[in-house]
Symmetry: C2
Subunit: 207 residues, 2 copies
DNA sequence: CCATTACGCTACGACTCGTAGCGAAAGCGA
DNA sequence: TCGCTTTCGCTACGAGTCGTAGCGTAATGG
Protein backbone atom coordinates (compact mmCIF):
# COMPACT_ATOMS: atom_id res chain seq x y z
CA UNK A 1 0.00 0.00 0.00
CA UNK A 2 2.30 2.76 1.28
CA UNK A 3 -0.46 5.20 0.56
CA UNK A 4 1.52 8.32 -0.21
CA UNK A 5 2.58 9.23 3.27
CA UNK A 6 5.05 12.02 3.70
CA UNK A 7 7.81 9.45 4.06
CA UNK A 8 9.15 8.33 0.71
CA UNK A 9 7.72 10.96 -1.56
CA UNK A 10 9.97 13.05 -3.76
CA UNK A 11 9.86 16.79 -3.83
CA UNK A 12 9.58 19.47 -1.20
CA UNK A 13 7.72 18.27 1.89
CA UNK A 14 4.79 20.17 3.30
CA UNK A 15 5.62 22.58 6.05
CA UNK A 16 4.50 21.15 9.36
CA UNK A 17 4.63 24.55 11.03
CA UNK A 18 2.22 25.89 8.41
CA UNK A 19 -0.38 23.34 9.48
CA UNK A 20 -0.28 24.37 13.11
CA UNK A 21 -0.22 28.06 12.18
CA UNK A 22 -3.23 27.66 9.92
CA UNK A 23 -5.27 25.78 12.51
CA UNK A 24 -4.38 28.29 15.20
CA UNK A 25 -5.27 31.16 12.88
CA UNK A 26 -8.59 29.45 12.15
CA UNK A 27 -9.41 29.33 15.84
CA UNK A 28 -8.42 32.96 16.27
CA UNK A 29 -10.66 33.95 13.38
CA UNK A 30 -13.52 31.92 14.88
CA UNK A 31 -13.17 33.83 18.13
CA UNK A 32 -13.06 37.26 16.50
CA UNK A 33 -15.39 36.80 13.57
CA UNK A 34 -17.45 33.68 14.16
CA UNK A 35 -18.34 31.07 11.59
CA UNK A 36 -20.32 33.08 9.08
CA UNK A 37 -17.86 35.95 8.71
CA UNK A 38 -14.81 33.72 8.64
CA UNK A 39 -13.14 33.74 5.22
CA UNK A 40 -10.30 31.55 4.03
CA UNK A 41 -8.46 34.55 2.71
CA UNK A 42 -8.46 36.08 6.16
CA UNK A 43 -7.25 32.86 7.74
CA UNK A 44 -4.41 32.68 5.26
CA UNK A 45 -3.34 36.23 6.07
CA UNK A 46 -3.45 35.53 9.81
CA UNK A 47 -1.40 32.36 9.39
CA UNK A 48 1.14 34.09 7.16
CA UNK A 49 0.59 31.72 4.27
CA UNK A 50 -0.85 32.10 0.80
CA UNK A 51 -4.53 31.42 0.21
CA UNK A 52 -3.68 28.76 -2.33
CA UNK A 53 -1.83 26.79 0.33
CA UNK A 54 -5.08 26.46 2.25
CA UNK A 55 -6.92 25.04 -0.73
CA UNK A 56 -4.10 22.57 -1.38
CA UNK A 57 -4.60 21.02 2.06
CA UNK A 58 -8.31 21.35 2.81
CA UNK A 59 -11.26 21.04 0.45
CA UNK A 60 -13.04 23.97 2.01
CA UNK A 61 -14.10 25.91 5.05
CA UNK A 62 -16.02 23.04 6.63
CA UNK A 63 -13.15 20.58 6.77
CA UNK A 64 -10.69 23.23 7.94
CA UNK A 65 -12.87 24.22 10.87
CA UNK A 66 -13.45 20.59 11.82
CA UNK A 67 -9.70 20.02 12.09
CA UNK A 68 -9.20 23.29 13.95
CA UNK A 69 -11.92 22.50 16.48
CA UNK A 70 -10.85 18.87 16.81
CA UNK A 71 -7.55 19.96 18.32
CA UNK A 72 -9.49 21.48 21.21
CA UNK A 73 -10.55 17.99 22.19
CA UNK A 74 -6.97 16.80 22.57
CA UNK A 75 -7.12 17.79 26.22
CA UNK A 76 -10.00 15.43 26.89
CA UNK A 77 -9.23 12.82 29.53
CA UNK A 78 -11.12 11.22 32.36
CA UNK A 79 -9.26 10.88 35.65
CA UNK A 80 -10.60 8.13 37.88
CA UNK A 81 -12.50 9.89 40.65
CA UNK A 82 -13.46 6.71 42.47
CA UNK A 83 -17.18 6.58 41.83
CA UNK A 84 -19.53 6.60 38.88
CA UNK A 85 -21.24 9.75 40.08
CA UNK A 86 -17.93 11.60 40.33
CA UNK A 87 -16.84 10.31 36.93
CA UNK A 88 -20.05 11.54 35.31
CA UNK A 89 -19.53 14.95 36.84
CA UNK A 90 -15.97 14.85 35.59
CA UNK A 91 -16.86 14.12 31.99
CA UNK A 92 -19.63 16.72 32.05
CA UNK A 93 -17.24 19.38 33.25
CA UNK A 94 -14.68 18.31 30.67
CA UNK A 95 -17.22 18.90 27.91
CA UNK A 96 -18.30 22.15 29.44
CA UNK A 97 -14.76 23.48 29.68
CA UNK A 98 -14.24 23.03 25.96
CA UNK A 99 -17.70 24.32 25.04
CA UNK A 100 -17.03 27.44 27.08
CA UNK A 101 -14.43 28.53 24.54
CA UNK A 102 -15.94 30.75 21.85
CA UNK A 103 -14.04 29.06 19.03
CA UNK A 104 -15.73 25.79 19.98
CA UNK A 105 -19.19 27.29 20.42
CA UNK A 106 -19.39 28.95 17.03
CA UNK A 107 -17.41 26.38 15.09
CA UNK A 108 -18.76 23.10 16.36
CA UNK A 109 -22.44 23.75 15.85
CA UNK A 110 -21.84 25.22 12.42
CA UNK A 111 -20.02 22.19 11.07
CA UNK A 112 -22.63 19.90 12.61
CA UNK A 113 -25.26 21.89 10.78
CA UNK A 114 -23.35 21.54 7.53
CA UNK A 115 -22.90 17.83 8.14
CA UNK A 116 -26.64 17.30 7.79
CA UNK A 117 -26.14 17.64 4.02
CA UNK A 118 -22.62 16.21 3.68
CA UNK A 119 -22.02 12.63 4.69
CA UNK A 120 -18.26 12.87 4.22
CA UNK A 121 -18.15 15.82 6.58
CA UNK A 122 -20.26 13.93 9.10
CA UNK A 123 -17.80 11.04 8.98
CA UNK A 124 -14.91 13.45 9.49
CA UNK A 125 -16.60 14.98 12.53
CA UNK A 126 -17.39 11.59 13.96
CA UNK A 127 -13.84 10.31 13.68
CA UNK A 128 -12.04 13.40 14.91
CA UNK A 129 -14.44 14.71 17.55
CA UNK A 130 -17.45 12.62 18.49
CA UNK A 131 -15.76 9.25 18.88
CA UNK A 132 -13.18 10.75 21.18
CA UNK A 133 -15.96 12.01 23.44
CA UNK A 134 -17.64 8.65 23.32
CA UNK A 135 -14.51 6.92 24.56
CA UNK A 136 -14.82 8.77 27.83
CA UNK A 137 -18.34 7.48 28.32
CA UNK A 138 -17.33 3.91 27.52
CA UNK A 139 -14.40 4.10 29.89
CA UNK A 140 -16.54 5.49 32.66
CA UNK A 141 -19.00 2.66 32.29
CA UNK A 142 -16.33 -0.04 32.26
CA UNK A 143 -14.87 1.45 35.43
CA UNK A 144 -18.28 1.44 37.07
CA UNK A 145 -18.77 -2.17 36.11
CA UNK A 146 -15.35 -3.04 37.52
CA UNK A 147 -16.32 -1.34 40.78
CA UNK A 148 -19.61 -3.22 40.85
CA UNK A 149 -21.65 -0.01 40.55
CA UNK A 150 -23.17 -1.23 37.30
CA UNK A 151 -23.94 -4.84 36.34
CA UNK A 152 -21.95 -6.36 33.47
CA UNK A 153 -23.84 -6.63 30.20
CA UNK A 154 -23.35 -9.97 28.47
CA UNK A 155 -25.10 -9.09 25.21
CA UNK A 156 -22.69 -6.97 23.15
CA UNK A 157 -25.35 -5.48 20.89
CA UNK A 158 -27.51 -4.52 23.85
CA UNK A 159 -24.44 -3.08 25.54
CA UNK A 160 -23.66 -0.97 22.48
CA UNK A 161 -27.21 0.33 22.31
CA UNK A 162 -27.26 1.46 25.92
CA UNK A 163 -23.85 3.04 25.47
CA UNK A 164 -25.17 5.02 22.50
CA UNK A 165 -28.16 6.09 24.56
CA UNK A 166 -26.07 7.21 27.51
CA UNK A 167 -23.68 9.08 25.24
CA UNK A 168 -26.46 10.94 23.45
CA UNK A 169 -28.00 11.87 26.80
CA UNK A 170 -24.77 13.20 28.28
CA UNK A 171 -23.37 14.99 25.26
CA UNK A 172 -26.75 16.24 24.16
CA UNK A 173 -27.70 17.62 27.55
CA UNK A 174 -24.41 19.45 27.99
CA UNK A 175 -24.48 20.91 24.49
CA UNK A 176 -28.10 21.96 24.83
CA UNK A 177 -27.49 23.58 28.18
CA UNK A 178 -24.40 25.43 26.99
CA UNK A 179 -25.46 26.51 23.50
CA UNK A 180 -29.25 26.55 23.31
CA UNK A 181 -30.24 27.47 26.84
CA UNK A 182 -27.01 29.48 27.04
CA UNK A 183 -26.66 28.97 30.76
CA UNK A 184 -23.53 27.95 32.61
CA UNK A 185 -22.57 24.31 33.04
CA UNK A 186 -21.14 24.68 36.52
CA UNK A 187 -20.52 22.18 39.27
CA UNK A 188 -24.04 22.60 40.62
CA UNK A 189 -25.63 21.71 37.32
CA UNK A 190 -23.18 18.86 36.74
CA UNK A 191 -24.03 17.48 40.18
CA UNK A 192 -27.77 17.63 39.55
CA UNK A 193 -27.39 16.04 36.14
CA UNK A 194 -25.12 13.29 37.41
CA UNK A 195 -27.60 12.49 40.16
CA UNK A 196 -30.44 12.24 37.68
CA UNK A 197 -28.53 10.03 35.28
CA UNK A 198 -27.07 7.85 38.00
CA UNK A 199 -30.48 7.20 39.47
CA UNK A 200 -31.77 6.29 36.05
CA UNK A 201 -28.98 3.84 35.40
CA UNK A 202 -28.99 2.08 38.74
CA UNK A 203 -32.77 1.96 39.07
CA UNK A 204 -33.14 0.39 35.65
CA UNK A 205 -30.50 -2.13 36.65
CA UNK A 206 -32.27 -3.20 39.84
CA UNK A 207 -35.74 -3.12 38.32
CA UNK B 1 -49.11 52.79 22.96
CA UNK B 2 -50.65 51.54 19.69
CA UNK B 3 -47.16 50.63 18.52
CA UNK B 4 -47.55 50.81 14.77
CA UNK B 5 -49.58 47.68 14.25
CA UNK B 6 -50.99 47.04 10.81
CA UNK B 7 -54.32 48.37 12.02
CA UNK B 8 -54.49 52.12 11.75
CA UNK B 9 -51.53 52.89 9.58
CA UNK B 10 -51.95 54.85 6.36
CA UNK B 11 -50.64 53.65 3.04
CA UNK B 12 -50.58 50.33 1.27
CA UNK B 13 -50.58 47.40 3.69
CA UNK B 14 -48.03 44.65 3.48
CA UNK B 15 -49.09 41.63 1.50
CA UNK B 16 -49.91 38.80 3.88
CA UNK B 17 -49.64 36.22 1.15
CA UNK B 18 -46.11 37.37 0.44
CA UNK B 19 -45.09 36.48 3.99
CA UNK B 20 -46.32 32.92 3.74
CA UNK B 21 -44.86 32.54 0.24
CA UNK B 22 -41.47 33.77 1.40
CA UNK B 23 -41.35 31.48 4.42
CA UNK B 24 -42.44 28.50 2.33
CA UNK B 25 -39.83 29.36 -0.30
CA UNK B 26 -37.21 29.56 2.44
CA UNK B 27 -38.05 26.06 3.60
CA UNK B 28 -37.94 24.77 0.03
CA UNK B 29 -34.55 26.34 -0.47
CA UNK B 30 -33.32 24.81 2.79
CA UNK B 31 -34.35 21.38 1.57
CA UNK B 32 -32.74 21.73 -1.83
CA UNK B 33 -29.67 23.81 -1.05
CA UNK B 34 -29.08 23.68 2.68
CA UNK B 35 -28.10 26.58 4.88
CA UNK B 36 -24.75 27.56 3.41
CA UNK B 37 -25.84 27.67 -0.23
CA UNK B 38 -29.12 29.42 0.50
CA UNK B 39 -29.17 32.97 -0.85
CA UNK B 40 -31.80 35.61 -0.29
CA UNK B 41 -31.93 36.35 -3.97
CA UNK B 42 -32.84 32.77 -4.69
CA UNK B 43 -35.52 32.78 -2.01
CA UNK B 44 -37.02 35.93 -3.48
CA UNK B 45 -37.18 34.36 -6.93
CA UNK B 46 -38.82 31.21 -5.56
CA UNK B 47 -41.38 33.25 -3.65
CA UNK B 48 -42.12 35.44 -6.66
CA UNK B 49 -41.22 38.67 -4.87
CA UNK B 50 -38.45 41.21 -5.26
CA UNK B 51 -35.27 40.84 -3.27
CA UNK B 52 -35.80 44.26 -1.75
CA UNK B 53 -39.08 43.08 -0.26
CA UNK B 54 -37.17 40.49 1.75
CA UNK B 55 -34.84 43.08 3.21
CA UNK B 56 -37.75 45.31 4.14
CA UNK B 57 -39.19 42.59 6.39
CA UNK B 58 -36.20 40.69 7.74
CA UNK B 59 -32.79 42.01 8.78
CA UNK B 60 -30.98 39.09 7.21
CA UNK B 61 -30.70 35.41 6.48
CA UNK B 62 -30.56 34.39 10.14
CA UNK B 63 -33.85 35.92 11.18
CA UNK B 64 -35.63 34.75 8.05
CA UNK B 65 -34.63 31.14 8.61
CA UNK B 66 -35.62 31.32 12.26
CA UNK B 67 -39.13 32.40 11.29
CA UNK B 68 -39.31 29.80 8.53
CA UNK B 69 -38.24 26.99 10.83
CA UNK B 70 -40.41 28.21 13.71
CA UNK B 71 -43.53 27.50 11.69
CA UNK B 72 -42.57 23.84 11.68
CA UNK B 73 -43.10 23.79 15.42
CA UNK B 74 -46.71 24.91 15.11
CA UNK B 75 -47.77 21.28 15.01
CA UNK B 76 -46.27 20.61 18.43
CA UNK B 77 -48.78 19.34 20.94
CA UNK B 78 -48.77 16.79 23.71
CA UNK B 79 -51.80 14.49 23.89
CA UNK B 80 -52.38 13.03 27.32
CA UNK B 81 -51.35 9.40 27.07
CA UNK B 82 -52.23 8.53 30.64
CA UNK B 83 -48.81 8.03 32.16
CA UNK B 84 -45.57 9.96 32.52
CA UNK B 85 -43.63 7.31 30.62
CA UNK B 86 -46.02 7.49 27.70
CA UNK B 87 -45.98 11.29 27.74
CA UNK B 88 -42.19 11.35 27.63
CA UNK B 89 -42.21 9.00 24.67
CA UNK B 90 -44.80 11.23 23.06
CA UNK B 91 -42.81 14.42 23.38
CA UNK B 92 -39.65 12.67 22.20
CA UNK B 93 -41.39 11.42 19.08
CA UNK B 94 -42.88 14.88 18.51
CA UNK B 95 -39.40 16.38 18.48
CA UNK B 96 -38.10 13.60 16.31
CA UNK B 97 -40.84 14.01 13.73
CA UNK B 98 -39.91 17.63 13.20
CA UNK B 99 -36.17 16.98 13.26
CA UNK B 100 -36.62 14.32 10.61
CA UNK B 101 -37.49 17.01 8.08
CA UNK B 102 -34.44 18.22 6.18
CA UNK B 103 -35.44 21.88 6.37
CA UNK B 104 -35.38 21.61 10.16
CA UNK B 105 -32.12 19.67 10.32
CA UNK B 106 -30.06 22.07 8.26
CA UNK B 107 -31.77 25.25 9.36
CA UNK B 108 -32.13 24.81 13.09
CA UNK B 109 -28.56 23.93 13.92
CA UNK B 110 -27.22 26.69 11.68
CA UNK B 111 -29.18 29.44 13.38
CA UNK B 112 -28.24 28.06 16.79
CA UNK B 113 -24.61 28.22 15.73
CA UNK B 114 -25.06 31.81 14.63
CA UNK B 115 -26.82 32.64 17.88
CA UNK B 116 -23.62 31.98 19.80
CA UNK B 117 -22.41 35.41 18.56
CA UNK B 118 -25.73 37.25 18.34
CA UNK B 119 -27.76 37.71 21.49
CA UNK B 120 -30.74 39.20 19.67
CA UNK B 121 -30.89 36.15 17.44
CA UNK B 122 -30.69 33.86 20.45
CA UNK B 123 -33.61 35.69 22.02
CA UNK B 124 -35.60 35.33 18.81
CA UNK B 125 -34.90 31.59 18.70
CA UNK B 126 -35.84 31.19 22.33
CA UNK B 127 -39.17 32.94 21.97
CA UNK B 128 -40.28 31.35 18.72
CA UNK B 129 -38.87 27.84 19.03
CA UNK B 130 -37.29 26.79 22.31
CA UNK B 131 -39.93 28.06 24.70
CA UNK B 132 -42.63 26.28 22.77
CA UNK B 133 -40.77 23.02 23.21
CA UNK B 134 -40.29 23.74 26.87
CA UNK B 135 -44.01 24.15 27.39
CA UNK B 136 -44.51 20.51 26.49
CA UNK B 137 -42.06 19.45 29.16
CA UNK B 138 -43.67 21.65 31.78
CA UNK B 139 -47.11 20.37 30.90
CA UNK B 140 -45.95 16.76 31.06
CA UNK B 141 -44.53 17.33 34.52
CA UNK B 142 -47.64 19.05 35.84
CA UNK B 143 -49.74 16.17 34.56
CA UNK B 144 -47.48 13.67 36.27
CA UNK B 145 -47.74 15.60 39.51
CA UNK B 146 -51.53 15.65 39.16
CA UNK B 147 -51.51 11.89 38.69
CA UNK B 148 -49.25 11.47 41.70
CA UNK B 149 -46.41 10.02 39.62
CA UNK B 150 -44.14 12.86 40.66
CA UNK B 151 -44.16 14.68 44.00
CA UNK B 152 -45.20 18.34 44.04
CA UNK B 153 -42.33 20.77 44.42
CA UNK B 154 -43.05 23.57 46.86
CA UNK B 155 -39.96 25.67 46.16
CA UNK B 156 -40.58 27.55 42.89
CA UNK B 157 -36.92 28.28 42.18
CA UNK B 158 -35.96 24.67 42.78
CA UNK B 159 -38.84 23.62 40.59
CA UNK B 160 -37.66 25.86 37.77
CA UNK B 161 -34.13 24.53 38.02
CA UNK B 162 -35.20 20.92 37.73
CA UNK B 163 -37.49 21.82 34.84
CA UNK B 164 -34.55 23.41 33.03
CA UNK B 165 -32.49 20.32 33.69
CA UNK B 166 -35.13 17.94 32.40
CA UNK B 167 -35.72 20.05 29.34
CA UNK B 168 -32.03 20.18 28.45
CA UNK B 169 -31.79 16.43 28.89
CA UNK B 170 -34.77 15.64 26.68
CA UNK B 171 -34.21 18.16 23.93
CA UNK B 172 -30.46 17.69 23.99
CA UNK B 173 -30.60 13.93 23.79
CA UNK B 174 -33.07 13.94 20.91
CA UNK B 175 -31.14 16.54 18.96
CA UNK B 176 -27.84 14.79 19.56
CA UNK B 177 -29.24 11.43 18.53
CA UNK B 178 -30.85 12.83 15.39
CA UNK B 179 -28.20 15.26 14.17
CA UNK B 180 -24.85 14.26 15.63
CA UNK B 181 -25.15 10.50 15.92
CA UNK B 182 -27.41 10.64 12.85
CA UNK B 183 -29.35 7.59 13.90
CA UNK B 184 -33.12 7.22 13.89
CA UNK B 185 -35.21 8.34 16.83
CA UNK B 186 -37.74 5.53 16.59
CA UNK B 187 -40.16 4.11 19.12
CA UNK B 188 -37.54 1.69 20.43
CA UNK B 189 -35.11 4.47 21.23
CA UNK B 190 -37.84 6.68 22.66
CA UNK B 191 -38.93 3.82 24.91
CA UNK B 192 -35.41 3.19 26.18
CA UNK B 193 -34.82 6.87 26.79
CA UNK B 194 -38.13 7.35 28.56
CA UNK B 195 -37.34 4.40 30.80
CA UNK B 196 -33.96 5.84 31.70
CA UNK B 197 -35.32 9.29 32.43
CA UNK B 198 -38.36 8.05 34.32
CA UNK B 199 -36.20 5.92 36.57
CA UNK B 200 -33.96 8.87 37.23
CA UNK B 201 -36.85 11.11 38.15
CA UNK B 202 -38.73 8.70 40.39
CA UNK B 203 -35.61 7.33 42.09
CA UNK B 204 -34.40 10.79 42.97
CA UNK B 205 -37.84 11.52 44.38
CA UNK B 206 -37.89 8.50 46.64
CA UNK B 207 -34.22 8.82 47.66
C1' DC C 1 22.37 18.12 -11.22
C1' DC C 2 17.72 17.14 -12.06
C1' DA C 3 13.09 15.61 -11.23
C1' DT C 4 9.43 16.48 -8.20
C1' DT C 5 6.61 18.68 -5.10
C1' DA C 6 5.27 22.75 -2.16
C1' DC C 7 5.15 27.60 -1.78
C1' DG C 8 4.11 32.72 -2.39
C1' DC C 9 2.17 35.84 -5.31
C1' DT C 10 -0.94 37.89 -8.73
C1' DA C 11 -4.85 38.00 -11.39
C1' DC C 12 -9.21 36.48 -12.89
C1' DG C 13 -14.49 35.54 -13.87
C1' DA C 14 -18.38 34.41 -11.30
C1' DC C 15 -21.18 35.07 -7.68
C1' DT C 16 -23.52 37.16 -3.53
C1' DC C 17 -24.30 40.96 -0.65
C1' DG C 18 -27.01 44.90 0.94
C1' DT C 19 -28.56 49.39 -0.71
C1' DA C 20 -30.32 53.22 -3.60
C1' DG C 21 -33.37 55.06 -6.87
C1' DC C 22 -37.42 55.03 -9.64
C1' DG C 23 -42.25 54.56 -11.21
C1' DA C 24 -46.42 52.02 -10.30
C1' DA C 25 -49.87 49.96 -7.19
C1' DA C 26 -52.88 49.70 -3.12
C1' DG C 27 -54.85 51.32 0.68
C1' DC C 28 -57.15 55.52 3.61
C1' DG C 29 -59.34 60.04 4.52
C1' DA C 30 -61.30 64.38 2.85
C1' DT D 1 -62.62 61.83 -7.02
C1' DC D 2 -58.37 63.41 -5.31
C1' DG D 3 -54.24 63.50 -2.68
C1' DC D 4 -51.26 61.22 0.98
C1' DT D 5 -48.74 57.43 2.54
C1' DT D 6 -46.58 53.10 2.32
C1' DT D 7 -45.41 49.01 -0.18
C1' DC D 8 -43.99 46.73 -4.30
C1' DG D 9 -41.23 45.26 -8.45
C1' DC D 10 -37.46 46.35 -10.99
C1' DT D 11 -32.77 47.82 -12.19
C1' DA D 12 -28.29 49.02 -11.14
C1' DC D 13 -24.42 49.57 -8.28
C1' DG D 14 -19.83 49.10 -5.38
C1' DA D 15 -17.92 46.01 -2.32
C1' DG D 16 -16.53 41.71 -0.98
C1' DT D 17 -15.72 36.58 -1.36
C1' DC D 18 -15.05 32.44 -3.89
C1' DG D 19 -12.16 28.94 -5.97
C1' DT D 20 -8.81 28.46 -9.69
C1' DA D 21 -4.97 29.23 -12.95
C1' DG D 22 -0.50 30.67 -13.98
C1' DC D 23 4.19 31.70 -12.89
C1' DG D 24 8.66 31.84 -10.80
C1' DT D 25 11.02 30.24 -6.68
C1' DA D 26 12.30 27.21 -2.65
C1' DA D 27 13.18 22.69 -0.66
C1' DT D 28 13.86 17.82 -0.74
C1' DG D 29 15.62 13.02 -2.79
C1' DG D 30 18.03 10.14 -6.37
Amino acid sequence: MQSRTAASRPGRPRSATADTAILAATRDALVELGWSKLTLGDVATRAGVAKTTLYRRWPGKNELVVDAVAELFDELELPDRGSLAADIEGVVLQFATILARPEARSGLMAVVAESTRDDALRQRIRESIVDRQKCLVLEGRSRAQARGELPPEPDPSESARTADLIFDVIAGAVVHRALVSAEPVDTDWAHSFAGLLLNGLTASATA
